[in-house]
Amino acid sequence: MNWITLGVFVFFFVLIAALGFYASGWRRGNLDALDEWGLGGRRFGTLVTWFLLGGDLYTAYTFLAVPALAFGLGAIGFFILPVGVINYIFVFCVYPALWSVCKRRGHITAADFIKDRFDSRFLSLVMAATGILATMPYIALQLIGIQMVVGALGFPMQGFWSEVPLFTAFLILAIFTYTSGLRGPAMISIVKDVLMYVTVIAAVIYIPVELGGYGSIFGAVPQEKLLLKPPSAESMNQFSLYATMAIGSGLAVFLYPHATTALLSASSANTIRRNMVLLPIYAVVMGLMVVMGYMALASNVRDMPEYADYFAQYGVNFAVPAMLMHFFPSWLLGLAFAAIAISALVPSSIMSIAAANLFTRNIYSNYLHRECSAARETQVAKLTSLVVKAGALAFVILLPLEYAAQMALLGGIWIIQTTPGIVFGLFTRWVERRGLLAGWLVGVGSGTWMMTTTSFTSSAFVLQIGNYTIPGYAAVYSLVLNLMVTVAISGLLSLNRESLRAVRASAAKTLENSARIESE
């Protein structure tokens, strides 16, 4: 155990814990109201929203898993770049309208909007449940990120002592979220970003010097992995996979409740638009993080005996931490590890708040305790945020590590099925709630089935048409089915309604005529 590294790490952790508690008094509002606790009072300006969204989307697990994807599989790991383009443009076009409706009608969650727009408690329950289920494993992944960093700091990787730091982190997280609500992660995310930028900039400048420049870093990538595998006579290969991953993740990212929560906490619709102009800065930094996956490859950390235990325990996800341990001086390593651990706390906090908002608004006060007061709602949400996090902690401690990752893949496929409700709800009049429900069912069902074809290890589905295969992201294939069903059933229902109206009108006319004849 390196004491300088540990000291720097602990220092930053104590600092952000203090900040988290202090945040409850920041731009103080009535913390008994749910949109104060759960949306920070919808008062966050451009800069705070930017930090909050950055903390939300670029999480510890992203920092570890996406470079690991490039480390293991090459070019495909860079799908994060097209995602960075597509999701911000999607949000730019769709979410300002959602923000305006939610502000006007006092909605706190996307499922609130669904309930109001389609006049359906049940549809809103389905949307809320989808959101909560997709979020839970994501929190678990963040805790695994913390565990990995703590292991790398020299704590035991198994047994009782491995869990003490995790419990400590969990307690800090739980308490500041409970007391400060969304203000906590908003404030901490500023520190997190500064640390993260320092880490990435240091890495992309310093490490290539050690490795002989970017030319030789890319030279270390096996030739067949440096570019995407092009289509052949039998298959679209990685082209269709890359494109569908870009589209699917591009749509799904902001449908996650924690992202919606951060967007709804913005102070105006234009705050959201401005953020979509500024957020690509994160996408560039994230892209550089993925290049760090190649640096790890070029530096051969995988074959170094001192990291063998870690790779055995955590797999390729340990590539970036191992490389940082190899190159960084102790103090900088402490800072980098603190950045990763705090990058786990910020989104976990927002995720638990978002899940709590959904539970309280769309399950508790719709079904369990109707007409409940704002103060009671807030109390329930605060308690729910604790339950959600405890659930994620239990998940990490009790189940094998890979379950959380597999559940998160499944969650991505489920969450994308809420797209039609939001988009059609905002921009069309003719879509019907029964159509949306049927579409959701088909989307979730088919997407889950597609995951079974890979035994839940991958969300890539190989679509077979004749002798030609088109590998793609299962979320996109299942969303297409969802859209077809939603549109078809809504169309049929509205046709049906029109023909009913016509039948009624002609029946009324007949009655009127017969009445006239009788009176004559």
Binding site: A75, F78, L81, P82, G84, V85, I86, Y88, I89, F92, C93, P96, S100, K103, R104, G213, Y214, G215, S216, I217, F218, L226, L227, L228, P230, F239, Y242, A243, A246, I247, S268, A269, N270, R273, R274, M276, V277, L278, P280, I281, A283, V284, G287, V291
Partner: protein
């Protein structure tokens, strides 16, 4: 107002350009020319992230006044 709104709304179509540029994989799935050691596949995509931000910023400057009356 509505006529003005739909005219301004046309700017949104411009946002298709960066999306299509990112999905035109056959166009950029190549090694040469390199830039600072980065193969074309990589620097092309980094460049388009930046260009996309610039285009979105341009569209924002055109649409930001629309619907302001709906907001506080």
């Amino acid at each position: 107002m509505n006529a003005h709104k739909s005219k301004v709304g046309r700017w949104y179509w411009l946002l298709l350009v960066p999306c299509l540029a990112m999905l035109a994989i056959p166009l950029y799935n190549r090694d040469e020319p390199r830039l600072f050691g980065f193969p074309f596949f990589y620097w092309y995509q980094f460049l388009w992230v930046v260009l996309s931000a610039a285009i979105t910023g341009w569209v924002y400057s055109k649409v930001r006044h629309v619907g302001e009356e709906d907001e506080p």
